[in-house]
Amino acid sequence: MRIFFLALILMVALVLQTTVLEFLTIFGVRPDLVLLIVILFGFIHGSRAGVYSGFLGGLLTGFLAGNYIGLSVLAQMAAGYLAGMGENRFYKENLLIAIIVVMVGTSVAQIIYWLLLLMLGINIMFVNGLKIILIVALYNGALTLFLYKWFYHVNTRGILKKPELE
């Protein structure tokens, strides 16, 4: 059931990202909502959950894009895993820590994406790549400021709560 809700939230994020957020760009760059959710999910529930949500989010993103399916999968799985490593190390109720985790995770995912593009022979000029990574990371960090309280609640008491073992 939890995976169904996670998929639903990821799909809503994907629809917003491909539509509404186009009107809210900063220097032509949009935030990455799907990645943001993957990172926060990993941060709250651990690496394993981070990898799964990254796989799901990346796959949905890839299917909708319709080409190079898997680019987002690898980038988001890595970000989810990395964020999950902070699960037991950091105090999860601290907003500032969540923001830093999101900004680091976002940057790592975008760098992996960039490296995969290079591997495919798609060259992005250094200045442009750097600009994208910096703005996405800052934008995602800023969104965390508004979304984290709600998302944390949903993940600890709401529909994305870890099922209790009986």
Binding site: M11, L14, V15, L16, Q17, T18, T19, V20, E22, F23, T25, F27, G28, V29, R30, D32, V34, V51, F55, L60, T61, G62, F63, L64, A65, G66, N67, Y68, I69, G70, L71, S72, V73, L74, M77, Y113, W114, L116, L117, L120, I122, N123, I124, M125, N128, G129, K131, I132, I135, V136
Partner: protein
């Protein structure tokens, strides 16, 4: 304990390898989309359409309210411009007639520039990331859309169709780093290739221009028609600055596209082009 740890790493490596293979197997240019892609596109398309429609509406109303104060002034200015353009149009008509007469004199076979059959399409979604620049439109196979059809707006070239599902099509914008368009500088007819830089960059660049060639800011760049995908003479952008390619022999021009890709709402997909060069004698290309 140890074995489960290795199992995990082994499993992860397998997943990464499979994913890398899938990335390689699903490039931009494919004949057919797979089932999961089609399903995700079809399921999300109506939601995208509604969300885009709403955001367009909100943006238009904000722009309308913001413009209220300056409308009268703008109206006055438009009237002046209209008068100017009318006189220009008359002059163009003169050239057109003259052009036809001269062509007849030269016994050129008849050709029709800008003779496109068009399908209008509305943008319903964008690429999820910031690296690639693609848009999804609400026309697909059902409407006769096929791969490699060019997409235009009155302001200039938008891109080409790269993937089609039954109801939607994916358009690769000229700002995408995977896009390359055969182009010429309008005045000097100097050829080159216009490449995208990245979705977030807002500019494109023209490469393969010989070093020392007269390339100046504000010159217009249009499609050359070479390569067979894009019709010739479609406006692409205006040169902002030029710089020497670090490689040595070439210079690179940075272009501002004529199309504002951040405000792209509707576009035309060209389903049939009557390519003029097919009917032209070879020296006509000069």
């Amino acid at each position: 304990m140890f074995s489960s740890h290795y199992k995990k790493i082994f499993f992860l490596i397998i997943v990464v390898i499979i994913t890398l293979v899938v990335i390689k197997m699903t490039p931009l240019e494919r004949e057919q989309l797979t089932l999961p892609e089609t399903v995700v596109k079809i399921v999300l398309a109506p939601f995208q359409q509604v969300a885009t429609g709403l955001s367009n509406g909100i943006q238009d109303s904000i722009a309308f309210v913001a413009a209220l104060g300056t409308l009268a002034q703008e109206n006055e200015q438009f009237k002046k411009e209209l008068a100017l353009l009318k006189s220009e149009l008359e002059r163009t008509e003169e050239y057109r007639v003259q052009n036809r007469r001269l062509k007849e004199l030269l016994q050129y076979k008849q050709f029709t520039v800008a003779n496109y059959q068009l399908v209008t399409a509305t943008v319903i979604g964008r690429n999820a990331g910031n690296w690639f620049a693609t848009v999804t439109v609400n026309r697909g196979k059902k409407d006769g859309i096929a791969r490699n059809m060019p997409a235009l707006v009155p302001a200039g070239l938008v891109g080409r169709v790269v993937a089609v599902s039954s109801d939607t099509a994916e358009i690769l914008l000229i700002t995408d780093p995977r896009s390359g368009v055969g182009a010429v500088i309008q005045q000097s007819r100097l050829p080159g290739v216009v490449e995208g830089v990245a979705s977030g960059a807002g500019t494109v660049r023209m490469v393969h221009l010989p070093k020392g060639a007269p390339v100046k800011p504000n010159q217009a760049v249009v499609t050359s028609g070479l390569g067979g995908i894009y019709p010739p003479g479609v406006r692409i952008g205006r040169i902002l600055i030029t710089e020497d390619d670090p490689g040595g022999l070439f210079q690179i021009a940075k272009l501002e596209p004529f199309v504002d890709f951040s405000k792209l709402e509707d576009l035309f997909i060209v389903t049939v082009v009557y390519t003029p060069e097919l009917n032209l004698p070879v020296e006509g290309m000069e």
